[in-house]
Amino acid sequence: MKRYLSLAKNHFKLSRNINWMLMSVALVFLAIMSDAGLLTRSFTGLLSRIAYSIILAVSLQLVVGFLGELSLGHAGFMCVGAYIGCFTANYLHTVIDSKLLVLVIAMLVGAAVAMVFGFIIGLPALRLKGDYLAIVTLAFGEIVRNIFKNLEIFGGAMGLKTKIYKPSELFIIAFIVAIFTIIFIQNLIRSKHGRAITAIRDNEIAAKAMGINVTYYKLLVFIIAAAFAGVAGVIYGHFTTPLLYTFFSYNYSIEILVMVVLGGMGSIHGSILAAIAITVINFLLQNNLSGDLAALRLLVYALILIVVIIFNNAPALKGVRARFNIRSFIRRFSQRKVIRPSLRYDDSAEWNQIETKIRMDEILTADLPHNEIYTPDPREKED
């Protein structure tokens, strides 16, 4: 136990856990504010929406960003979780008094059923790739919501009546679930299983040759992602009533995908930020463009997305980005002036910053004495 604690302490890096820690701090702060009655109903509603968007974005990031398979059916998993979970909750409310307990059980049920569907969708994922898999998942999402539309037991086209929570209470639960989602998925990615998953993304043939069970990991990823989407669905079901099949259209799947792409492939921090940003933009546009301007909502939304994507990816804007990004902002305040990009091992290594080129020039012009051998600085960083 003592050894375990020391290991855990040594392996803990603040920079790698900053996302959920910041969210926890924000949650405590917001919960106090809400308790003091300082938050409006619509704002707590927004917070709930942010929370389930984060769950969806982070879980889809696992499929798209880390496994590298394009899935357009995430809203379908959410739909399954929402309907089954809320149906269970409706039943349980007659048996159990505690509202929180009912919600937790509903989440577990929603996750379990979504997992089954994740397994079913994971099976063709083993044979299909890229666009073909995307189309299968897209079809799955549409099929699922149409099934629920036509089942009278789930309220049919009128939607399923659910017992909604007050947003001021729901957002706290939703945030806690979101924080646990981030921790679980992050830990999974940083374990040997996560390495296997990213290995499959980087080079499937080599991963197979290294003895990695590709079938197992693809199914595992689909099942885990589906489970979290199901949980998000249950939260959504307790946020709004009636639960309507129209919400889970492929548009929503694509919105989740946009969060993932906007945040950057393989970046959990990014997908959290993107989930927050997109939900807030949607919320602001919905609230501020009323009446005749409401027709402009989707147009403005699309424009914002295009601008952000271009800003993120256009090579011509590299200089602008470098000047205004958070990293350089922090660097300006910290004393670490020397950057050694050759030591950086994240995905965003930039060639134009690599120092070796300059070093070469130095060596060529410095006229080293005949017998003196140039030795570069020793490496510092430990993995």
């Binding site: 375990y4 830990n187 390495r195 043939i205």
Partner: protein, 258 residues
């Protein structure tokens, strides 16, 4: 030669794509701890033999045995777990991962580093123990190739020769009995080639390996391999001791033409 000394054996191994017989009737008998070369002009079917041995292609005729156990019809993963690891002719590293992580992926299936995904998700004690041990083991393997100092660099930022070495290191991490190297010295300068020969001999001795390698550099093959098989147009041309086989007039004819 006793039967139990033979670690890898192929019997009438052959494959045809459509009507084309890419490899026909290849019989290899590789002794334990041998350094065995597979040479031949371009298009002779050397890499196809490798692909069959590692389960990428299913042979249409014949079979192959590792330590007397037939591995025909097994998947790539299963064959790797049985103890055959390979490198690729066109390097296939995990480019977006650091050097040490590439090796850690190779260590994935080692029984001493087993923990399930739930343990990983919840960071239970086994997670820390295993990850720590895995990293130590990976560093040991990188030491053999002199790559310890490079371990935090991205694999795609390494030089070509170093990438080749890393690929061997990664294959070695899967703890194989037989190591299949597909043109390990391609793209290396003469110094690196000599160094690589030393490394291959060293890992053969230290890790109790059998090495089967494809190479075009005849100096490399004759300096390293005990025995070779020369393939031409998918069939075995000559088989035997390296010096004899490479000086065989048939082989010279196949290489130079005429």
């Amino acid at each position: 030669m006793a039967e139990k000394d033979i670690i890898l054996e192929t019997q009438n191994l052959g494959i045809s794509f459509g009507g084309l017989k890419a490899v026909d009737d290849v019989n290899l008998k590789i002794k334990r701890r041998a350094l065995y070369g597979l040479v031949g002009p371009n298009g002779a079917g050397k890499t196809t033999v490798f692909n069959m041995l590692t389960g990428v292609y299913q042979p249409t005729t014949g079979t192959f045995l590792l330590e007397g156990e037939p591995l025909l019809g097994k998947t790539q993963e299963q064959i790797n777990r049985k103890g055959m690891a390979r490198t690729f002719q066109n390097i296939r590293l995990f480019n977006n991962m650091s050097v040490i992580r590439n090796v850690l992926v190779g260590l994935h299936n080692q029984p001493e580093f087993k923990y399930n995904p739930i343990t990983g998700m919840l960071r239970m004690p086994a997670y820390y123990e295993c990850e720590y041990a895995m990293r130590e083991r990976a560093k040991e393997i990188l030491d053999v190739f002199g790559l310890r100092t490079e371990r935090n660099n991205l694999a795609c930022n390494l030089s070509y020769g170093t990438q080749r070495k890393l690929e061997i290191a990664r294959a070695l991490a899967t703890n194989p009995k037989v190591l299949l190297l597909d043109e390990p010295a391609a793209g290396m300068n003469p110094n690196e080639t000599v160094e690589l020969m030393e490394i291959i001999r060293k890992i053969r001795d230290d890790f109790d390996l059998t090495v089967l390698l494809i190479e075009h550099d005849m100096k490399f093959v004759s300096g390293l391999c005990d025995e070779v098989t020369v393939l031409n147009f998918g069939t075995t041309l000559v088989q035997g001791k390296t010096a004899d086989a490479l000086s065989d007039p048939e082989v010279i004819k196949a290489y130079i033409g005429g």
